[in-house]
Symmetry: C3
Subunit: 317 residues, 3 copies
């Protein structure tokens, strides 16, 4: 959210995060270098900072204390897991025992695909888009849903409360993707869940017993009001060999994502042009408003213990 | 004026205009497509709108009314004539019996040239420039006026009130263009009128009995405060064959226009740099202030029944 | 400071400066031309202005006075010396007997190198950077200072008040540049002064008796809040022949300047990103705060008779 952060590893290899501005003359610390002692040295005048942002040295200075408090850079608490460095959103604060979101276990027979993508939209718009079913038949017509000559089928969606999140389960969704619609002929259905976890995780899970199990956990970083970075962590098992499935998942995923990114950018431009979002929703927008409400409460720092009423909706896909 | 509009033809072929924003998630409707039933389908979730902006369908939705009033897109009344679609400036409003500007008749022996050009300036600046005589000897030196070694001649300009507009008639203007100045030797003069019609039309008419009759009607669309699109509709008759005259009109017109566009853009940049227009005028600026006054009154929605006093001015060209 | 100025020579060859906006329709006068009579003619409608900004002619106008006061363009007093045109900062004002900064004399055996560079930073940041010693060991590591294996030596800096300025003298600075550090072995030292003169001049002087004498006077023009043009006027004498030294001075100077420009731009971007400068200083920042104070007083138009207390600081280079 418009606060540049510099990341580096200290002498112990621990990931560290400071506000990316030297307190001396406001140069970006990310233009500096990490010294042999694991401190971060500013590239302009060489001030050095430890992982907690304390000024360890002002080169050449013979008078005064190097670690005077005004020379301290703001720092963020960090937590590293699954190859991601999470930072606590509030500077100079201790998260206590709180831990960030945990990815679903990568079981021995599973395969992982990770990629990231920058989206020109609000974090809310990105998350709603990731978890929205109805748009897939139009924006991704013929690739994901839609494009089949078989008639659409009614399915049921149930919304449940989660701790710090919300989930929708879909019942009766025919198995298929784009033109290949096995389910409409065979009555084979997906087990399918869409989930949102605070502060910024969207998760889509599909299962077909004996054939497929796939979880796409999307970690979002709001870089500014209308710019969001998303990391897609896809973990899956299929009956088919991974060497065949992996490139398909990656190629298809990016193709769909490119269409989403195009539309989200157009949505953002319109939002700016018209001076703000003015949304109208129907029963099909099962998650959007719940995510909005959770994000706004979290933003205010309120304890999020929302009792979302369970809802059940029928629609056609 | 910063309101994007999507245009499409409905099932009857009638031109339709909606605000280019889907009420659902604010995607631009112009990224969608027109269905077989003549409704406009949003490219994001497939909502469909008729020509009056009413929501005809929300795909997949099994509950609730599709045409709930909150799902209605704003529309503009349209009128089509001479190959132009005019839209009424106020959304969801009925122009009653009011009709847009009518182009002068294209008589059987006349030829038409149409082109458009985007100008980086206010609509007022574009219209004043189109109807201004004195600048032609400097900005277009040697092309339009100026550049002749013959001395300039005094001419007389008379300003008259028009219904919803204003006109200046020039008397005694020697026939010529750039270096070719027949009038200064022969005393042959143009009949010449410059006219402005609300809301946005500039018109220049020249006649030389038995030789030439030309009307350039310029239709302006204010796309934003400092961006104006202009359509030039030139209808003319000359003694010389149209196949000779038409390419000259087009080439010379665009050459002059390019110089105007360059200067208007520089004027705009200066206006922004200095925080606004601060104009000084002389008797030579016969139309600029009158156009300004008419535009400001129209902007406020006032009935424009201005009695501009007739004026007569002499100057040299 | 965001006021475009047009410069031209009048009929007497005297440099003249007007605000670059025609009072008529606000076109930039710099797009016009100088007439045979030494007046500046606007390129749009041909209005002509003399060096004091008075309107000498409105072409074609047969009525009214050409030099009506509303038609006057604002002008700035000018002073030309050493190939520079200085303009007085206040429009339509007389500087009285006040003269701009004088460059140090170019003695017969001295050589001059002049170049200019546009910096994306405030004028204060540019001047502080030009006169700052400690950053040279980091930003210019191995080129200017730093990069030597010999240990740094403590030197002493003394700050003195100047009329309309401030000076720091360095004592005991070992002779060297980058990896070539003669001084650390030989105890040969520079005579070195850094100076600031209102309104916008930074000056660096080095001397080594019998070997070297160099003055770099940097004249700054604040083009806007975060854009500063700097003219470097380097006048020097060395024992080595000028044909050898001159290309080295130029190449090395521009190499260092490029690094400074890169860091100053990064500093500016951070300043904007974080909503303003928030600086912390130590005893090493001997000039920055004094320059800041002098600039702020001058900005308010106060008579600058600041009694900066003399200061003495030791540090290592």
């Amino acid at each position: 959210m418009d606060t540049p952060v510099v990341l580096f590893r200290d002498g112990d290899g621990k990931a560290r995060a400071l506000v990316d501005r030297c307190p001396h003359r406001n140069a970006p610390l990310s233009l500096g270098r990490v010294n042999a002692d694991g401190n971060l040295e500013c590239g302009y005048h060489g001030w050095r900072f430890d992982g907690a942002g304390e000024c360890a040295a002002v080169p050449g200075l013979l008078t005064g204390e190097a670690n005077a408090s005004a020379r301290t850079a703001e720092h963020f608490a960090t937590h590293e897991s699954d190859g991601f460095v999470w930072i606590w959103g509030e500077a100079n604060a201790d998260p206590g025992g709180q831990r960030p979101f945990e990815l679903p276990a990568l079981e021995p027979n599973m395969v992982e695909v990770v990629f990231d993508y920058d989206l020109d939209c609000t974090m809310h718009a990105a998350i709603e888009n990731a978890l929205d079913v109805p748009h897939t038949a139009f924006l991704h017509r013929g690739i994901f849903r839609g494009g089949s000559k078989a008639p659409t089928k009614p399915i049921t969606a149930e919304r449940h409360d989660l701790e710090g999140g919300v989930e929708v389960q879909y019942l009766g969704e025919p198995v298929g993707m784009g033109p290949i619609q096995l389910g409409k002929k065979t009555n084979l259905t997906f087990d399918h869940w869409d989930r949102f976890f605070l502060p910024s995780v969207a998760q889509v899970e599909y299962r077909v017993d004996g054939w497929l199990r796939i979880t796409n956990s999307i970690l979002h970083l709001p870089m500014s009001a209308f710019r969001t970075r998303a990391w897609f962590v896809v973990r899956f098992w299929t009956k088919a060999p991974p060497s065949v499935v992996k490139p398909i998942v990656l190629a298809r995923g990016k193709q769909i994502l490119k269409q989403d990114a195009f539309m989200l950018k157009a949505q953002t431009e319109n939002t700016k042009q018209f001076g703000g979002e003015r949304y109208t929703s129907t029963d099909l927008d099962l998650l959007g408003n719940a995510i909005w409400r959770l994000l706004r409460l979290a933003e205010k720092g309120e304890v999020v213990d929302v009792d979302l009423p369970p809802r059940q909706v029928s629609f056609r896909v």
